[in-house]
Symmetry: C2
Subunit: 408 residues, 2 copies
């Protein structure tokens, strides 16, 4: 039913589309993005290993391949702010900082492509980027063409130093220029995040993904705040998502300084249920193996990348226990399979027992579901809608279930 | 100077002492306490490995010895609430739950003693414990004698279901009964935590440690809230601490579900600086090695156990960066050595550089300090009061320095 609605809305938007029509991001983008972990560190003299430089991105690319991230589906390595020179060149073209990117961006994209990766880049729909580097205003066509010439595969367009009222025209226009280059580039928009009442009828047909809410920070408080935003606004936001167009709750901070192991699994599970882009921002050189395993979990990634592209919702909230579900494939008749995330938002020290009755959270297929714990590999067997299974859920942790609908 | 003041106050209290005089806890108690991690789980039918039972405490005792905790100084294994039967026996004596402690508490303390450990127990100055089991009211002398007969070494006395106004008489009275048994038992009081304006002149001479503030929960938010409480009230609280009598900011939650690795180091460092009891509450059977290493770090434990017993303070707070210092031994002339904790309370994703000038945070010895990073073993050499060293401090993390004063 929800799926039918989504398909109808996609049809509507497609007819109205005036911006991007690139056939990309049919499942949520997966990759690595510099910002959350490396910010605007440009101090290569004192911190050569961590400053924003071609060296950093090449290193991350190496780890993307050698440590299994590319094989798992993470295929973009993306710059964020602070890669540029403060000056455009004599032709008005952007140029990278010459000290930190001496080989140029084309060489960097060549490096990515040689490894089977894609290159992402960052610009800003305004006079300056958030970090004070040149924005695209007055240079939309030039910058789109520059990115294409450089072999860029993915463009994030931020919204600092811009008038939010101009964005409804500006973002689609830049999307048209991206299209016009003929080079397929995923288009990531910060557009709605800068507006009070974004008009998603304009945004969804134009952008492959868009940020609706504040930047993620390195804390559980930030992750839960974002989760709550998407749950509290799910009636508006969830129907927007679908193949080619996704809500973006921002980066995965798994493996950094602020999340525990349990909390990291919770972010991964909820991002999977939300059909969110999986954009890691972590130092792949030093990430601990158990956090890498969360990011690489194939069953959880499969939920995120489910081809139906339906964004899940929070279907119940009872004290500290929240249940989130996402309809996924395979489908039998009218019945979807589901991913079900049971969250324990409490901090009570000891695990809570949660009784799950599938029919109470919308899993009503009469023949039941074959249920597996996607992190811990426990099998619950076939569970009918009125059966009950008991789950132990750790404080600030999650149990993520794959529920495959049984054929008639 | 601070030390002189503390010594004067200790002298004052000793003269006024009317309660406990047991010569114990000359450094902050170290051990393992059930509550934060195992709570009041009495469901041994469905959760036999984690319910409050003699089995659980014997298992923890085994790990205390085999995994190096006893050797590191953690020598108490302590029950908390929910160990009792709901009924006293025919002589009015407390008795353990017969199903969960079939061998009795005397057998449990024998087990602890056979391993070189001590047994802690829990009761409540009120009509009931917080969990609804029998409180000591009306049975003070009996219960003190029962604990002594059982070979108990440490008593935590909570304050649920009691009138806070009665505590100024009741807690000292129970301390006298403990003394009267002739058995040395550390006396942990929840007394001030239940009062609006606790009279520490009464508390400090009577209790070996006391809880001033709310229970810790399994979250960074809880840890930081507690840290802020002790810093915000340090002018009142820090002078109270000294050999035999300690402020207790509650248990170490390191190794559980809610803290990241960085946050765990921060709790350990701040608890060391605060001369806080180090009471772990974690499942020692499953704790990950890197968290065990934090708890076992000998250099950090040495700060906590410094024989001078001076409670440290937060000496600066500049945006997200806090500096906490604690005067420790060795002392040369009038100059103490120091432990210095540099906290990054931010969640900005990437480490911050912090410049530390020892003289600006009270380290003024003219010959300087030999400075070592106590977690990461980096040596900074001899640093003079007006020198500057630069430290990289991770978000929600800490750098803990040992600063040994140089002789003239």
């Amino acid at each position: 039913m929800l799926n039918v609605l989504v398909m109808m809305m996609v049809g509507l938007w497609t007819r109205e589309a005036c911006g991007l029509d690139n056939g990309l991001a049919l499942t949520p983008p997966m990759g690595w993005l510099a910002w959350e972990r490396f910010r605007c560190n440009i101090d290569c003299d004192n911190d050569p290993d961590n400053c924003i430089s071609e060296h950093l991105f090449m290193k991350m690319a190496d780890h993307m391949v050698s440590d299994g991230f590319l094989a798992a589906g993470y295929d973009v390595v993306s710059l964020d702010d602070c890669w540029m020179s403060h000056q455009r060149d004599n032709n008005g073209r952007l140029q990278p900082d010459p000290d930190r990117f001496p080989s140029g961006i084309k060489a960097l994209s060549d490096y990515m492509h040689s490894k089977g990766l894609k290159l992402g880049i960052y610009e800003d729909y305004g006079n300056f980027t958030c970090g004070g580097y040149p924005g695209i205003l007055g240079h939309l066509e030039t910058d789109a063409q520059t990115f294409a010439d450089w072999g860029v595969d993915y463009v994030k367009l931020d919204g600092c130093y811009a008038n939010p009222d101009d964005m409804d025209q500006g973002y689609p226009m830049f999307g048209q220029y991206l299209n016009k280059t003929g080079r397929p580039m995923v288009y990531s928009c910060s557009w709605p995040d800068y507006q009070q009442n974004p008009n998603y009828n304009l945004i969804v047909p134009v952008c492959n993904l868009w940020r609706n809410y504040a930047d993620i920070e390195d804390s559980w408080a930030s992750v839960t705040d974002i989760m709550d935003h998407y749950a509290d606004h799910q009636d508006q936001l969830s129907p927007l998502a679908g193949p080619g167009h996704w809500n973006d709750p921002d980066m995965l901070i798994i493996g950094n300084f602020g999340l525990s192991y349990e909390q990291s699994r919770t972010q991964m599970a909820v991002w999977a249920v939300l059909a969110a882009p999986l954009l890691m921002s972590v130092d792949l050189r030093t990430i601990r193996p158990e956090y890498r395993d969360i990011l690489l979990n194939p069953a959880v990634i499969a939920v995120n990348q489910d081809p139906l592209g339906i964004q899940g919702t929070r279907v119940s909230k009872d004290n500290n226990i929240e249940i989130w579900t996402r309809p996924i494939s395979p489908v039998h008749g009218d019945d979807h399979s589901f991913a079900v995330a049971i969250l324990n938002r409490g901090d009570g020290g000891t695990p809570d027992n949660v009784e799950l009755e599938p029919g109470k959270v919308g899993l009503n297929a009469v023949n039941g579901y074959n249920i597996t714990d996607l992190f811990d590999k426990v099998t619950h067997g076939v569970v009918k809608p009125t059966d009950t299974i008991t789950l132990q859920v750790n404080p600030s942790g999650v149990v993520l279930l794959g529920c495959v609908v049984m054929a008639g």
